[in-house]
Symmetry: C2
Subunit: 141 residues, 2 copies
Amino acid sequence: MSDLLERLRGRGWRLTSQRRVVAEVLDGEHVHLTADEVHARAVQRLPEISRATVYNTLGELVGLGEILEVATDGRAKRYDPNAHQAHQHLVCSGCGAIRDVHPQGDPLAALPAAERFGFVLSGAEITYRGLCPDCTTNAVP
Amino acid sequence: MSDLLERLRGRGWRLTSQRRVVAEVLDGEHVHLTADEVHARAVQRLPEISRATVYNTLGELVGLGEILEVATDGRAKRYDPNAHQAHQHLVCSGCGAIRDVHPQGDPLAALPAAERFGFVLSGAEITYRGLCPDCTTNAVP
DNA sequence: TGTTGACTTAGACAAAGTCCAAGTTAGGAT
DNA sequence: ATCCTAACTTGGACTTTGTCTAAGTCAACA
């Protein structure tokens, strides 16, 4: 993560304690936190940090390509620190758990030219849906 | 669309003017409207229809599998009347335009067992991203 | 044509996120 | 080491999107 802080310095970022704390929270937990969850964890380390700063910092990190925004449901966006390795997401329809997964092949290859409507494609996001082992076991009929 | 209204009657729906109007709006425009856009169009035909009823009706139609909820950004959900044919979405990163597309093959096939973590998969949603012809032409450097 | 439970309404409420003016501060300049 | 200043942070108001509720209305059956 000191990598990240160095990269940000190199891009002209002022390295404030708030930004450091947000970066540390994202690095510490390799899960997909909402902005409010990031804020809650940041407050543990820096009680006076504001919601606005967390939102600002997350937005900046997304803009720099250091983290990814993930919207797997219509609720709060989640932030994925694993931005430097291509991956997709597997979401449990029961409990909402999210896992990073790595499908084979290039997803863009499945879209024939006739289905591209003149668009210049830049990427594809895949959300696999299913029930995790826990929710399968405790499934309701 | 009278098909749809008949199907809904068959499921015990009371056929109110409000529900009829919401169904007509979705049928009339084969685009991906937000709830507020559906409400705005519904108001043209039935001025006193309320936001709550539009939300209720959209939720019911989703529950019945007659329309799909699409969340391609972190903003408002969009509603897709094309629920009876499997398809994915192609979204313009410039203007937000959405098109239905039909990739080849089964998207689930690309996810090897080792990457399924014991989940029982039920489906996959793919969002292809790119620039539409208009936004490519008028692209800013 | 009456009855009744399902449906609709307006508005309050909630969650997620944005914006702003005022105060603070990191880091280069002196 | 201290100063300066643009960049950053703050709290709170505000916006957008969506949910909930109590009271009123009405579609469909008898």
